[in-house]
Amino acid sequence: MSNPPDFVTGETEAPEMVNRPAPPPGPVPAAEERRTLHDLWMAGTEAPREVARFTSEGAQEMLAEEQEPILAGQMGALVGDDYLSRPGPSGEDTQVINMGPQHPSTHGVLRLQVELEGETIRRVKPIIGYLHTGMEKTAEALTFAQGPTNVTRMDYLSPFHEELCFSLATERLLGVEVPPRAQAIRVLMTEVNRVASHLIWVATQGMDIGALSMMLYGWRERELCLAFFERVTGLRMNHNYIRPGGVAADLPDGWEDDVAGILAKVPPGIADYQDLLDDNPIFRERTVGVGVITAEECRAYGVTGPILRASGVAWDLRRAFPYSGIDRYEFEVPIGNGGDVYDRYRVRIEEMKQSLRIVAQVAETMPPGDYRTDDLKVTPPPRARLDQSMEALIHHFKLFTEGFKVPAGEVYEAVESPRGELGMYLVSNGEAKPWRLHVRGPSFAHVQALPVMLADSLIADTVATLASADPVLGDVDR
C-alpha cells in the first residue's frame, strides 16, 4: 500500500487510476457571489431578509473569527461552527444554535443551524451529508441483480419500496412482465412495510414530543411485522427480496396465519394510540397549527406523500400512476386540510388502517402461479435443476457472475413510499451494470422544505415539525 488512507479525505487511488489525468475542475462561483446577501431559503414565499456577510470560511458555516480561538480553547478541539451574535431585523440580538448531527431528536444525522431571536426561529439551515454513502456510485459498480441490495439500504425504514422501485425501473428497461402472484406478493410486502414504517414514525413522533411510552408501544406492534418479514425473506430489515423479475422466493407455508395475526393484533394497537393521542390536550397543543406548509409550497419544493396529503392535495402515486397491480385493491387516500403536524399524524394513522385493508384483500385474493417471471435471460433457474441440466448451470453461472444485460435506455420510475414519492432515474447503456442510477428520495425534498415549515415558529416546535416530516437520512444523503 503506497500511502495509508487518510480518514478525513479517504482518497486512495486504485493503481490503474494513478496515471489518469485529473478531471478538469468545475467552475467555482466567485467568492463574492457566495458571500452576497441572499435569503432564498424562503424563496417564493416570503420577502428576503437582511443577513450579515459571511466570513471567508464559506457559506456552510456561520463563523465569527474573533470568537473561534476562545471556543477552541474551551472545547479542546477545533469546532466547525460557532455562536454568532449580531443584530437581527428588530434590533435584538439573535443567536445561532446548532442541533446535531449527533442529537437524539433529529431522526438521524441531520444538522440544523437555527437562528433564534429569543424563542422565535428566524432562519433554519439544514446541513446534510453526514450519512453520504456514495450509493449512486456503488450502484454503477454492481449488476442489476445486485442493485436491490444497494438501494434497500437507502431508506432503511421502507426497504421494500426501494427494492420495488428499482425492480420496476429495471423491468421497464428490460420489457419483462412479472406474473400476477409476484405482483401481489410485492403489494403485500410493501403495504406491511408501510404499516411498519408508520409505526416507527408514530413511536418517534410521540417520543420527541414527550410521550415516551409511545416509543415502546410502537415497537411492540412493529415486532409483529418484522417477524413476518423474517419468515418470508429471512431478514428483519434490508431484505433484498424484491428483485428484477419477481421476488426472491415464494411465500412460506402458513403465511396466511402470519398475516391474520398481523391483522388481528395491529388494529387494536392503532386504536390504543388514537385513544392516547387523538384528543390528548397536550398533544394537540403541541401539534395543532404547528409546522404548517401550504399546498403551493409543497409543490414548489417537491414535497409529496403524507405531508402533501395533509395539506389538502389528494395525490397518491398508487392512484395516479398505479404499479404492480395495486389498482386491483380497494383503498382510500386520507387527506387533511390544515397542513400542520396534527393533520399529518391523522393522515398517517389512517394510512395504516388503509394499508391493513389492502393487506387483507391481498391475503384473500392471492393468485396462484409463479413468483417470478419465466424469462430465462433474467431469472435464475430453480436450484434443483442445476444438477440435471447443463444449460441451467450455465445460465445460473452467467447470471450471477456477469449479470443479465439490460437494453440501453433511460427511465424514471416512482412508487409511493411511506414518506412520499420515491423515484429512480435509471440509465442503461446495454451492459450488465447501470450507467447511472439516481434515486429521488422523498426526504431530500422534505428536509429542504423544513425552513418553510418552521418559519416564525418557536424553538420547541422544531422537534415536533421535524418528526412530522419523517425524514430518513439514508434517503437524504444516499
Binding site: E11, P101, Q102, V109, K137, I200
Partner: protein, 156 residues
C-alpha cells in the same frame, strides 16, 4: 499481581472484580445511531428485546453522561470528525461497540464516501457483525463486552 488480565497490577483480585461488576451494571449508551443499525439498536431497547433488563435502556444524548458508545451505522467522511469529537467528550471509563458491517469494516460500501471501519477513528472493543445485526446479536455483543470488563481483560 500483574499479568495479561491485569496490566495495572495494582488492584487486588476481589476489588477488581467488584469494580468490574459495578461498571458493567447499567452501562449507559450514548446515542450514536447513524443508519439502519440504529433502528435495530432501538428495537433492542424496546419492549420485546428489552435492554432495560441490563440497565441500559437509558440512551444518554449527552456524551458526558454515557459510558458506552455503540457506533450503529455507516460512518461517512463528513461524520468521522464528529464521531471522534463525541468520543473525546465521553469521560473515562468508556467503551466502544462497533455495530454492523459498515461500522466494523465499511460493509458493502467500499468507496470514497465511507470510513472503512470505525476503528480508524476510535478504538473499538467489540465488533458485532451483521447487516444489520439483529437485536440478539447486539445483545450478545453487549454481554461479551460486559464479560470482558468483568474478567479484567479490558482494564480501564
Amino acid at each position: 499481581m500483574a499479568g495479561p488480565a491485569n496490566p495495572s497490577g495494582f488492584l487486588t483480585t476481589t476489588l477488581q472484580k467488584a469494580v468490574g461488576w459495578a461498571r458493567t451494571r447499567s452501562m449507559w449508551p450514548a446515542t450514536f445511531g447513524l443508519a439502519c443499525c440504529a433502528i435495530e439498536m432501538m428495537a433492542t431497547g424496546a419492549a420485546h428485546y428489552d435492554l432495560g433488563r441490563f440497565g441500559m435502556e437509558v440512551f444518554r444524548a449527552s456524551p458526558r453522561q454515557a459510558d458506552l458508545m455503540i457506533v450503529a451505522g455507516r460512518v461517512s467522511q463528513k461524520m468521522a470528525p464528529v464521531l471522534r469529537q463525541i468520543y473525546d467528550q465521553m469521560s473515562d471509563p468508556k467503551w466502544v461497540i462497533s455495530m454492523g458491517a459498515c461500522a466494523s469494516t465499511g460493509g458493502m460500501f467500499n468507496n470514497y464516501a465511507l470510513v472503512q471501519g470505525v476503528d480508524q477513528v476510535v478504538p473499538v472493543d467489540v465488533y458485532v457483525p451483521g447487516c444489520p445485526p439483529g437485536p440478539q446479536s447486539l445483545m450478545h455483543g453487549i454481554l461479551t463486552l460486559q464479560e470482558k470488563i468483568r474478567s479484567g481483560e479490558i482494564a480501564r
